[in-house]
């Protein structure tokens, strides 16, 4: 898929069937056609082997360490990482969330120097280590939403709740909308609603009533729409996705190995990026997963054939 196409999909376009396949992909698809894949046996194998959840544990360790480093810095005044997720200083260097900074700049109609330094630094870092990696490796809301998602799936399996999909384009609309509101009214509505900021402040400075808003969002995700905030609303995530659209750290897909049993799409927060894992959809034998991918590694963990793996462009396989 073209780069522009993958960005368009991140912004909300539905994934399309590829028009052209490479010769190698034609052959790979051809081999699988006709020859019955023994998917049943594979699925049984998957069910019998415990998932290692290697990447998930690594990720949670990193995520919790970063978030509690803020708390430690405040409680024990060790001055390592001060502030919260929207803006902070790491050993004195300014860091700032690019989208939040943009909103403030729009509301203020000026560019505070330290904020710009922070936002550019953060943009460069995530542009390198993979855009929405921020979401799954740092964002505290992602962590609690993952727990809510498990509850949702548990309830859904018992037929108590059902997932309602939203049009993914709404995230783009909100992304633009919050920015327009900030520039127009001078108020940053998003920073009031931002569950990342609320949670981060709660972890560092102690919780307040604002946590109710986060609980409301989680409740919505549990009973109505799986991972709704991260999938359909969060403009911070979309910003990191855009910044990291060319990031060298990514999950890569190997068509030849893939058995198309679809385990990866079941665990994925953004399953549209794994559209190529559907039988007959991959236009090439080796592909990169699109920019909306949060590099959470869930698909890498569950993939029984190791068709999905972390890769750093130019460095070969990471694992």
């Amino acid at each position: 898929m073209s780069f522009a196409g993958s960005v368009a999909e991140m912004l909300g376009r539905a994934p399309r069937r590829p028009k052209k396949y490479t010769e190698a992909a034609e052959i790979a698809h051809g081999r699988k056609r006709g020859r019955g894949m023994d998917v049943t046996r594979l699925l049984e194998e998957i069910a019998s082997t415990a998932h290692p959840h290697t990447w998930r544990w690594r990720r949670w360790a990193v995520l919790l360490s970063i978030n509690f480093l803020f708390t430690l810095s405040y409680w024990f005044d060790i001055q390592v990482l001060e502030g919260s997720m929207t803006a902070s200083r790491l050993l004195g260097f300014h860091l700032a969330d690019p989208y939040s900074s943009a909103l403030v700049a729009l509301a203020e109609r000026r560019l505070p120097v330290n904020l710009m330094i922070g936002a550019v630094t953060v943009s460069l870092v995530w542009g390198l280590i993979g855009g929405r990696s921020y979401c799954s490796w740092v964002c505290p809301y992602h962590f609690v939403a993952e727990q809510a998602e498990r509850l949702h799936l548990w309830l859904a399996a018992r037929g108590i709740v059902r997932d309602h999909l939203l049009h993914r384009g709404v995230r783009t609309v909100l992304w633009v909308g919050f920015a327009v509101l900030a520039g127009w009214t001078g108020h940053t509505l998003f920073l009031t609603l931002n569950p990342i900021g609320i949670l981060s402040r709660a972890i560092i400075y102690g919780p307040g009533l604002a946590i109710l808003w986060v609980l409301l969002l989680l409740l919505f995700e549990v009973v109505y729409s799986r991972r709704a905030w991260c999938r359909y609303a969060c403009p911070v995530g979309l910003t990191y996705g855009l910044l990291g659209a060319k990031a060298p750290v990514r999950v890569s897909y190997d068509l030849v190995r893939c058995a198309h049993e679809g385990e990866c799409r079941k665990v994925c927060e953004v399953p549209h990026v794994l559209e190529m894992t559907i039988k007959g959809r991959a236009p090439d034998v080796k592909m990169d997963v699109g920019p909306d991918c949060t590099r959470c590694g869930m698909c890498v963990d569950v993939c029984p054939t190791e068709s999905l793996r972390f890769e750093v462009k130019g460095l070969g396989d990471l694992l």
């Binding site: 203020e108 309602h164 604002a210």
Partner: protein
């Protein structure tokens, strides 16, 4: 009957065509987007009503509206403050949720950082870097709200802990420890007349002074009054340290000195409606 009505509904859900499902997805998305944006007027209303309207902000804060827009709600001002005077506002503050404010009665800004650390820490300049010394701060303005309660005005002394043994607030007592603020409860006072507000004012006599009160004939009465002067920056130390309950002297957020207090303006004779002149005494 009910069962019949229920069944086709279930079947219809399963048989949604691609187009129908897509239409529903767009509809849900639209509801969510409109719902989120509808919170803007709601939050704006909340920040205009209730206590949030008159929050005392940390030193250097831009005018309220600009401040709310500029604050990125990161809390760095809280972290650098040696006395942790700024608190972060909660949900009730609407658009101000997560923004810093001071509750001076609980913990005033005593400038014990000596450098306006909060302003230096603020990444968005919501606390404006234009303000460089504590004397330039204009957070609010002190006012003798309850002159009848003021111990000095009643000619009384004060002995003991200013705020009782449980009060958590801290203050820098430079003569004891230049670098660390200590709990107010650990620093008992013995002052006759009571002049705690004047004694602890970090700005000094340009902001607050104890002035003797005289009777009609101009003779001293043995009573005094704290006089708020144009140099008051609104740090709130006077409000925190005032031993009467509630405080006799308070800080009005974002208030500025009345014209009569400005040095350039001629001082008009005090009339009956002035707050401080509610008492029978007047100064010559």
């Amino acid at each position: 009957m009910a069962k019949q009505a229920g069944e086709p509904k279930k079947r219809r859900r399963r048989r949604l065509s691609r187009k129908q499902e897509q239409r529903r997805q767009i509809l849900r998305a639209a509801v969510v987007a409109v719902g989120l944006w509808a919170l803007q007027p709601l939050a704006a209303l909340a920040s205009r009503l209730l206590p949030a309207r008159k929050r005392l902000r940390p030193p250097g804060a831009l005018p309220e509206r600009a401040f709310l827009g500029a604050c990125i709600k990161c809390g760095q001002c809280v972290q650098v403050c040696p006395v942790q005077a700024p608190k972060l506002a909660d949900l009730g503050d609407g658009l101000g949720t997560g923004s810093p404010y001071l509750d001076p009665r609980m913990q005033a800004c005593d400038f014990s950082c000596d450098a306006l650390s909060c302003i230096l820490a603020c990444p968005t300049e919501a606390l404006s870097h234009v303000v460089q010394t504590k004397e330039e701060v204009r957070a609010g303005f002190a006012r003798l709200a309850r002159p009848e309660a003021c111990l000095a005005r009643r000619g009384k002394a004060f002995q003991g802990r200013a705020r009782g043994r449980d009060f958590p607030g801290v203050l820098r007592y430079a003569e004891i420890d230049r670098w660390h603020a200590m709990p107010v409860r650990d620093h008992p006072y013995d002052r006759d007349p009571c002049d705690l507000c004047v004694l602890q004012c970090p700005i000094g006599s340009t902001a607050l002074a104890l002035v003797p009160l005289t009777d009609e004939a101009g003779a001293p009465t043995g009573r005094f009054t704290p006089e708020v002067r144009a140099g008051c920056v609104g740090c709130g130390v006077c409000e925190m340290i005032c031993p009467t309950e509630p405080a006799a002297i308070v800080v009005d957020a974002r208030a500025r000195p009345q014209a009569e207090l400005l040095p350039s303006a001629p001082r008009p004779p005090r009339s009956g409606h002035g707050r401080a002149s509610a008492a029978p005494e007047h100064r010559p």
